[in-house]
Symmetry: C2
Subunit: 209 residues, 2 copies
């Protein structure tokens, strides 16, 4: 995919720009930052920025696109063999296995993810993440969403509900200082989704509101 060996100066510059973007998103938000802000924070010449990106929107797009692509490679394509592994082991320890690589990835890209999903982040990226999550969580069994003979709610509301719920927990996790390991977050989130949030809270599953 990448043919060129890459000049060290380029990677340094791009790293600096990316770091500046993250810092400035958290400091003042994407909408309030100027290209000048970015280049000053990155300690590079303004012209250099324009030799790499069209404008700040282009920068934002490319950062997001890169994240999404990496996630598709590392998570979506990995699902089949994950499921295969689950079938092998047979014990009940691994029903949360699918989300784990996701949370590991989020952890590895914490600073950017935190900025993009935070209060000064980008609502458009949240939409992309929701789409990705819907795909990752339901790809393997679309029939769940489609057959719906005995579904109590329209399927698209179901996937919206679950995907957004995941985003919410991810945001809470990234912002918090408790630093649970990826496996623990996978357990927490799966517990609420499978048993229902209220059951997970310690209430009964069906009656009691």
């Amino acid at each position: 995919m990448n043919g060129k060996p890459a000049d060290l100066r380029v990677v340094r510059t791009k790293q600096a720009i990316r770091a500046a973007l993250i810092a400035l998103i958290e400091e003042k938000g994407f909408e309030a930052m100027s290209v000048k802000d970015i280049t000053e924070h990155a300690n590079i010449n303004r012209g250099t920025f324009y030799s790499h990106y069209e404008d700040k929107f282009d920068l934002m797009d490319k950062c997001q696109q890169q994240l999404i692509e990496e996630m598709e490679i590392k998570i979506i394509r990995n699902i089949p063999q994950l499921i295969e592994g689950m079938k092998q082991s047979q014990n009940g320890t691994a029903p949360f296995a699918v989300p784990v690589p996701l949370f590991e990835f989020l952890h590895d890209n914490k600073s950017l993810m935190k900025a993009l999903l935070g209060p000064r982040g980008d609502a458009g990226f949240q939409v992309k993440m929701k789409e990705f999550l819907s795909q990752a969580l339901f790809e393997r069994n679309k029939d769940v969403l489609v057959n719906g003979g005995n579904a109590l709610v329209p399927p698209h509301y179901l996937s919206s509900y679950i995907a957004s719920a995941h985003i919410g927990v991810i945001q809470e996790w990234l912002n918090g200082d408790t630093n649970e390991p990826p496996e623990e977050i996978a357990r927490i989130i799966s517990t609420m989704t499978i048993n229902g949030p209220l059951f997970a809270a310690g209430l009964k599953g069906k009656d009691q509101a």
Copy 2:
């Protein structure tokens, strides 16, 4: 709260600005719009804008603040008597009563809500909505979140999960063309929260993943 009778010219101007904001959020997003864009779209003089708002951020803040305040008045303060009403009627038809006024309000302010919660909207507003929802949904029984002796997950993850899930369904509802009535959305969302999303999908509640 409002002492002044209000000049008609002022309300007309403010309405035009508000409408322009909504249109431009959906057209190009808040970050990409200029004050000039707003005033041109609203057909007012640029100076007039600055006599009402400091800048576009001030405009955005005030629009959001107004929404939140109205919601607090119409929904939060209405909860006690809603619960009282539920106790009176006793039949099982009304466990979804609390969210109904919320969805009615969202429906009444659809255009602005859709813009603010949409892909070109404001992530900060989503955070405010999440806080509001947590308050509205859990205010009446905080103990659920606090006692947690038999809770399977940390309480703050539970409220994040549920509040975000609600936002997701609301977004889907506002964007869709199906136009379910507020009562139906309240039923859908409560069903998933109470029984668990997977149960609502037509699966068993606990085993089957």
